[in-house]
């Protein structure tokens, strides 16, 4: 069975355009996916109810990319007719998009403050924390600069990438470094964790701080160095269905089912595989 699902990465121009044009880009990205599910064989899986055909747009933190790709595929297999489109980006930018009226049915954030903004705007209620994550030091494969620990991040001779403090991974990094009394000497402060990871896999930086889940997903191009102190700085990931004007009944029902699925046992197992901790 093949299913088409578009995942769009939120890059700068797209964000600004979506902002300017009232957030119509996500809608464009989800249209034209040909499979209506009629030919899909009945799949066994975590299905709890019969859902009407619906297209559900999920906005998720960049760090959830691999896990949510899996979860969306599983959910679609279990619920023929439901099409999940996931768009990934920095949690703060996604929250802004939702508040500005981007068509979204579900929001999964990498930290609680962006979700709180959406709740405060009256667009979501009762977010559920469904996963946790901690930071890890990463270096390119072979560790060419001989990095051994967090203290190396203060070495100005090394090329170092961190997340900007305006995004959850950056806020966590700043907290971790402050806890350890380390003044970092970064060469770049990236807008999301995947951008940091890319700079490491390309070998353009000697060391960086990313989530431990990213270390698992990135494969052989990078090596992770566990940082004991990172256990004290835990990111909590909340998820909630979004109640916008544009949401139809079928979409709302499917969105609620997807949230329950992610926060439930089946979702837990997949998130576990990708290295996310339990709430």
């Amino acid at each position: 069975m093949t299913r088409s699902r578009r995942t769009t990465s939120t890059l700068g121009t797209a964000v600004l355009l979506a902002f300017a044009l009232g957030g119509s880009l996500t809608a464009c990205a989800s249209s034209g996916t040909g499979d209506d599910g009629q030919n899909a064989p009945a799949a066994t899986g975590p299905t709890t109810q019969n859902l009407d055909a619906a297209e559900v747009t999920v906005l998720a933190a960049a760090s959830l990319t691999e896990a949510f790709d899996d979860l969306a595929t599983q959910f679609e297999a279990a619920n023929p007719g439901v099409e999940i489109t996931v768009s990934y980006g920095g949690s703060g930018a996604l929250a802004t998009q939702i508040i500005e009226g981007a068509p979204a049915d579900v929001f999964a954030s990498a930290a609680e403050p962006p979700m709180q903004q959406v709740v405060d705007a009256g667009l979501a209620t009762d977010p559920q924390v469904f996963a946790t994550n901690t930071l890890e030091l990463v270096v390119p494969a072979g560790n060419p600069a001989g990095v051994t620990g967090l203290a190396d991040l203060s070495n100005a001779d090394l090329r170092i990438a961190l997340c900007d403090e305006s995004v959850p991974c950056g806020a966590a990094s700043a907290k971790l470094l402050a806890n350890e009394g380390i003044t970092a000497a970064p060469d770049t402060l990236e807008s999301d964790v995947k951008a940091v990871l890319t700079k490491v896999s390309l070998g353009e930086v000697d060391a960086a701080l990313v989530y431990r889940t990213d270390v698992l997903s990135a494969g052989d191009d990078i090596e992770g160095i566990e940082v004991p102190a990172a256990a004290d700085v835990v990111n909590r990931y909340p998820i909630a269905a979004i109640s916008g004007d544009a949401t139809g009944a079928a979409e709302a029902q499917a969105a609620a089912a997807f949230v329950a699925f992610v926060a439930g046992d089946a979702g837990r197992a997949t998130l576990d595989e990708h290295g996310f901790g339990a709430p």
Partner: protein, 272 residues
């Protein structure tokens, strides 16, 4: 009679006018929204913050440098493109395509391309690192390189347009009168295309000022070193949309101001 003729050619069929008005709305409405939504009361405070000033100074310095480099590289390239009119079709089209590609390429792709060329493990970058210990990404120089990459075509096409519309016979006359090729270029060609060079330089500057995708991909984002205004605006979207709108407004104001200083005939399209 002359007035009647002017009216006859001046009036458009109404469907064309109607569609053109829609087109203007498509271009202008987003910018109007920006102006309407701008946090006018807080604007002075937002724009006077040290991080904004830092980004502004960096953006201006790099855009000026990039424009200077574009002028040095772009005018000869424009002459070559104009000269290529006498070439056979394939090399002529290849050259034109090479100049056009950065215009139509997503800037992020340009950034990736620059990274795999000049990055620490890039085609040329690895030698620079090994032989001279020079690494380009994450430096202010990388910002300038990214800006030159995306802005150069604007200069080339403006100058080439000016060359096409100018009367090249004066060059021929100068050559007949014994001027050397350099003298012809210096005293005839260059003054002939000066308006095109000026227009191209201004467009180049505004494009460099607005550059985002190639910069964040290739140069990264560090306050004071590589975090230009567009990148600061994008990051502000993460936490403070008001600040993002304020920064966007600043960029818009600069661009509009610069473009308004151009005379009509210097704008692209009007030169050809």
């Amino acid at each position: 009679m002359a007035r009647a003729a002017a009216r006859g050619t001046g009036r458009l069929a109404w469907p064309i006018t109607a569609i053109a008005v829609v087109a203007v709305a498509v271009l202008v409405l987003p910018l109007v929204a920006l102006v309407v939504r701008a946090p006018w009361a807080d604007l002075p405070t937002l724009l006077a913050s040290s991080s904004v000033l830092e980004a502004l100074v960096l953006s201006f310095t790099t855009a000026v440098l990039a424009t200077a480099i574009c002028l040095v590289l772009g005018v000869p390239l424009a002459l070559l493109v104009a000269h290529a009119e006498s070439w056979s079709a394939i090399p002529r089209r290849l050259l034109r395509a090479a100049v056009t590609v950065p215009l139509v390429l997503p800037p992020v792709v340009g950034g990736i391309a620059l990274l795999v060329l000049l990055g620490r493990r890039g085609l040329i970058g690895q030698w620079l690192d090994e032989l001279f210990g020079i690494t380009i990404p994450f430096t202010t120089g990388a910002v300038v390189i990214a800006q030159v990459f995306v802005a150069l075509p604007f200069l080339v096409f403006a100058v080439e347009g000016a060359l096409r519309s100018s009367d090249r016979r004066t060059e021929l006359a100068a050559a007949t009168l014994g001027a050397s090729r350099w003298q012809v270029f210096r005293h005839v060609t260059l003054p002939l295309v000066a308006p095109g060079v000026a227009a191209g330089g201004v467009l180049c500057f505004t494009r460099a000022l607005g550059e985002f995708g190639a910069t964040i991909t290739f140069a990264g984002s560090l306050p004071g070193t590589t975090r230009t205004l567009p990148i600061a605006s994008y990051l502000a979207m993460q936490t403070d949309p008001d600040e993002a709108v304020a920064l966007a407004l600043l960029l818009l104001a600069v661009s509009v101001l610069v473009l308004l200083t151009l005379r009509d005939r210097w704008l692209p399209g009007a030169t050809a």
